[in-house]
């Protein structure tokens, strides 16, 4: 693949801490290779800032291979940038051309307060899982793994739902800051498996209640979440969750 170099203007959100108002700062970077990843371009910028005695930009990142879910930049108005089914760390500079201006902001949601610059607090997702995103089995309780055959289609669907990386792009991209895609992916995974059946009702009710408590908005079926999800989690999960929720609401006594 042909590669090239480019000079870019970056407008990046700077915010000292959660109490600070924050604003966009403008930076210039030169001689960026099209083979770099987007975060490597940020590394170059930060090295430049540190060397010049300026404050580097704080951003979340860890695995840099698209699976840990830590990276979280809103790039030119899109969660994780211009490529479909992609995380920020997997975005490469060949997506841009010489002279481009790139605007980078943190995830925007009341439930994800900014910690610093591009870093946000996503612990609301952990608390939603704590509300029921598990199967209650203690270590040592299990029967043989092949004792319960599972229909391959159900197993595959459960896997697809389980491939959510918890990055929060769905929330960041939704005009209502809804977390329905995230929550429904976990609800679906466990509802599709026989092992998850006993807690089906309480799980969906409790997780949805926690989701509301955290301040996430409602779903109005724009499907923006599915379009921006780096793992292609389907909105069919939301429909499944709504069915599960309805069933649970009708059958649960308290």
């Amino acid at each position: 693949m042909e590669h090239y170099h480019m000079n870019l203007t970056l407008k990046v959100w700077k915010q000292k801490n959660s109490n600070d108002a924050g604003k966009l700062e403008t930076y210039q970077v030169k001689d960026i290779s099209s083979e770099m990843s987007f975060l490597e371009m940020f590394d170059v910028l930060n090295e430049q800032l540190i060397t010049n005695g300026k404050d580097p930009i704080a951003f979340d990142h860890d695995c840099r291979e698209g699976i840990c879910g830590m990276c979280s930049m809103h790039i030119n108005g899109r969660a994780h940038g211009p490529w479909d089914k992609n995380t920020t760390c997997q975005l490469h500079m060949r997506a841009f051309k010489d002279g481009d201006t790139i605007v980078v902001e943190p995830w925007r949601s009341k439930a994800f307060p900014v910690i610093k610059d591009l870093m946000v607090d996503r612990s609301a997702f952990d608390r939603i899982i704590q509300a029921g995103g598990y199967i209650s089995v203690n270590t040592g309780n299990a029967v043989d793994a092949n004792a319960i055959p599972i229909d391959k289609k159900d197993a595959d669907d459960a896997f697809m739902a389980a491939s959510c990386i918890g990055c929060g792009a769905c929330v960041a991209t939704c005009k209502n800051s809804s977390a329905m895609l995230f929550v429904s992916a976990k609800v679906s995974q466990l509802a599709l498996l026989p092992q998850g059946a006993p807690e089906k009702e309480s799980r969906v009710l409790n997780m949805v209640a926690q989701m509301d408590k955290e301040g996430f908005g409602n779903c109005t079926n724009t499907y923006a979440c599915e379009a921006e999800c780096p793992k292609g989690i389907s909105v069919a999960n939301i429909a499944r969750m709504n069915r599960e929720y309805l069933k649970a609401s009708l059958t649960t006594e308290d």
Partner: protein, 658 residues
């Protein structure tokens, strides 16, 4: 110091059962009074914290990421081994044990490996019960595949995301315990020292990475589940934040470091593309089930891969190792790739890459599909299209990842791959109970040295992390804590906490006061280059001696000229990184010292002075059949302790995969 591995007496296959039958227990009422600190929430840490919480201990779990679910176990792709023998192909606890000891080139402790094999099946049962969506066959039962270094199909998997699914399983169990109040979770926290009272680990000093504040935490025991230290090489497949700091602090407080030089260089990674590179990406070893590795027979070949005819290709693994072919263990495959590239047969712009080709697999699967569907007179193009679909089902996400990074389509042209640092078999020395040489301080998963010897087989890391956390530590920790029930929790105003916190604060102040001119990152890169060039895939005495001197110089330069922006009492990722790089520099020196001392080749450790006529690694069992357990004495000063390895069952032979 006398190293006692505390291996139970008796027959190999009865040791663990016997141990469990006689180990001390802690009654439920007492468990509630005992506090356990778990550092790291990957497979080992999350499974340990969850299981200990279930038992009723008071657990505090720490991770430096924003959530326990981010730990780098999540990136493991290929699979997890278990001696289930669901495929009826001759697998057994003994075979898995044997393969692992042999694969580790006879530098692992037999009793630990046997226990690992014994508990492997229960891991799969437990994960399925948790809702881990493993791959299944049409009949609804679990699917298996084969992995390097074995001749049976014992690997369970979830597409190319096995680590993710297993970690999310352990994470959900951990979150459940948090909800139940048995575990308190501390995110964005980093352990910066162990607190010692009367010779026992009694707590930690941690830094809240958001506020920069130092915190004191008491524990009757401290479990380090902090993963490996591959980032000492700067470029590796590890996550950016993976570090040795917690393990290194423990080492300086008396925990011996076992076999630090044993590093796994994984054969199938995406090659380096330039100086800007911040990390390397692995392409799962499972690809070697179907992909064929080759280089051109002609040096300096300029044609495109697809234009090179079959007879002008050198499938060097199939040629050199006909019995295992492309499925030889990782160390063997990596060295063979390096050998071809060093000889001038490498491909791509840097010439430091070999091809991993799926063209044959695509054709083969296409023909099988034709057969299945009962078609006749099918055009070549349709066969290939059908084959591509099958390959996509098996490896789709990996192919997609490759294309995102390189911009090349691996369905049309072979992947280019090259070895990269992936895993560290070395780690804190632990006994059979996973206790380090410091009482009350334990190491689990990749952070310890115990089960993989000098080379880890594919799909064994996930197995070991979960074995340690779910099925080993819940028993062995009780044996220690049973004697601690008389010792109530100490207040963190205790002098030992005060003193340790002050030492941690002094070091941070010292780092911040340097105000030099070179960035943390630049030092890390330089360290990485020394390590890769002189303590990488091939090592020799001259290079290692040079490396030690260079690292000592680098250390001086770091402590006099590093530039760290920002303040102490705030979020400051550069300061976090500076502390980690300072520890990596010290570790790098020890790794070179260990590699120098071990004048033999074994597994991933290849000393150029010790090879067979055919260029294979040559072990020296007479002189080096031991675990090197290094004891920290002071700056650049270590004492070597040896744990002799005795092999009752698997008799060491020259490892052959031919």
């Amino acid at each position: 110091m006398d190293l006692n591995a505390k291996i139970p007496a008796g027959e190999m296959n009865e040791k663990w059962t016997d141990y469990k039958g006689h180990v001390k227990l802690v009654n439920p009422a007492n468990k509630r009074k005992l506090e356990v600190i778990v550092i790291g929430t990957g497979l080992a840490g999350a499974s340990a914290a969850a299981s200990l919480g279930e038992l009723g201990y008071n657990v505090k779990a720490f991770c430096f990421q924003d959530s326990p679910r981010r730990a780098h176990s999540i990136a493991a792709q290929g699979g997890i081994n278990a001696a289930k023998n669901y495929q009826n192909d001759g697998d057994s606890v003994f075979r898995l044990f044997y393969d692992t000891v042999k694969g580790g080139d006879y530098r692992a402790r037999e009793a630990n490996v046997h226990r690992l094999s014994e508990v492997s099946a229960a891991i799969i049962d437990h994960c399925v019960a948790q809702g881990v969506p493993f791959a299944r066959e049409y009949g609804g039962l679990l699917s298996n595949r084969s992995f390097g270094g074995t001749q049976v199909q014992r690997t369970f998997y979830a597409a190319g995301q096995t680590g993710q699914q297993l970690l999310l399983g352990a994470y959900s169990a951990l979150e459940r315990q948090i909800a139940l109040g048995n575990v308190t979770q501390y995110n964005r926290h980093e352990m910066l020292d162990v607190v010692m009272v009367d010779g026992k680990a009694r707590g930690i000093i941690a830094r809240d990475l958001v506020t920069g504040k130092l915190e004191r935490h008491f524990g009757h025991a401290v479990l380090l589940c902090t993963g490996g230290y591959g980032n000492v090489f700067y470029l590796s497949t590890n996550a950016m934040g993976s570090n040795v700091t917690a393990a290194w602090k423990a080492h300086k407080k008396g925990a011996f470091f076992g076999n630090p030089c044993f590093t796994q260089i994984h054969p199938t990674c995406i090659p380096v593309s330039g100086d800007h590179q911040s990390k390397l990406t692995l392409m799962s070893e499972s690809l070697r089930n179907d992909g064929r590795i080759w280089v051109p027979k002609q040096k300096g070949e300029t044609r495109k891969a697809v234009d090179i005819p079959e007879e002008e290709r050198d499938y060097y693994l199939e040629r050199r190792y006909p019995a295992f072919g492309n499925l030889v263990p990782r160390d063997v495959a990596s060295r063979a790739a390096k050998e071809r590239c060093d000889e001038g047969y490498g491909v791509g712009t840097t010439k430091m890459a070999v091809y991993l080709d799926f063209a044959d697999a695509i054709k083969r699967y296409g023909k099988i599909e034709v057969g299945k569907q009962g078609l006749s007179n099918v055009e070549e193009a349709s066969i290939i299209a059908m084959g591509k679909k099958v390959v996509e089902e098996k490896y789709g996400n990996l192919f997609e990842m490759y294309e995102k990074i390189t911009g090349e389509n691996p369905y049309e042209m072979p992947m280019r791959i090259y070895p990269a640092v992936h895993y560290t078999m070395g780690g804190l020395w632990v006994d059979y109970e996973l206790q380090t040489t410091v009482q009350g301080l334990y190491a689990l998963g990749e952070a310890n040295f115990s089960d993989h010897g000098a080379n880890r087989l594919g799909a064994s890391a996930l197995m070991q992390g979960l074995a340690d956390g779910y099925f080993v530590i819940p028993y062995t920790l009780g044996n220690y804590l049973a004697d601690e029930i008389r010792n109530p929790s100490l207040p963190t105003s205790h002098a030992a906490f005060e003193e340790t916190e002050n030492a941690v604060r002094d070091r941070i102040n010292k780092l911040m006061r340097i105000k030099g001119s070179q960035t943390v990152e630049s030092f890390h890169k330089r360290l990485g280059k020394i390590m890769w060039d002189k303590c990488g895939m091939a090592r020799n005495e001259k290079g290692l001696r040079e490396a030690i001197v260079e690292i000592q110089q680098l250390k001086k330069e770091f402590w006099s000229d590093v530039k760290i922006p920002g303040d102490i009492d705030e979020m400051n990722p550069e300061l976090d990184k500076a502390g980690r790089v300072a520890d990596f520099i010290e570790l790098g020196e020890l790794m070179c010292k260990d590699a120098l001392d071990r004048n033999e080749s074994c597994g991933g450790h290849f000393r150029e002075e010790s090879q067979t006529e055919e260029g294979e690694a040559k072990r020296d069992d007479e002189n080096y059949s031991y675990v090197a357990a290094w004891e920290y004495k002071g700056e650049s000063d270590w004492n070597l302790n040896k744990e002799a390895l005795t092999f009752e069952i698997v008799k060491p032979t020259q490892r052959s995969y031919k």
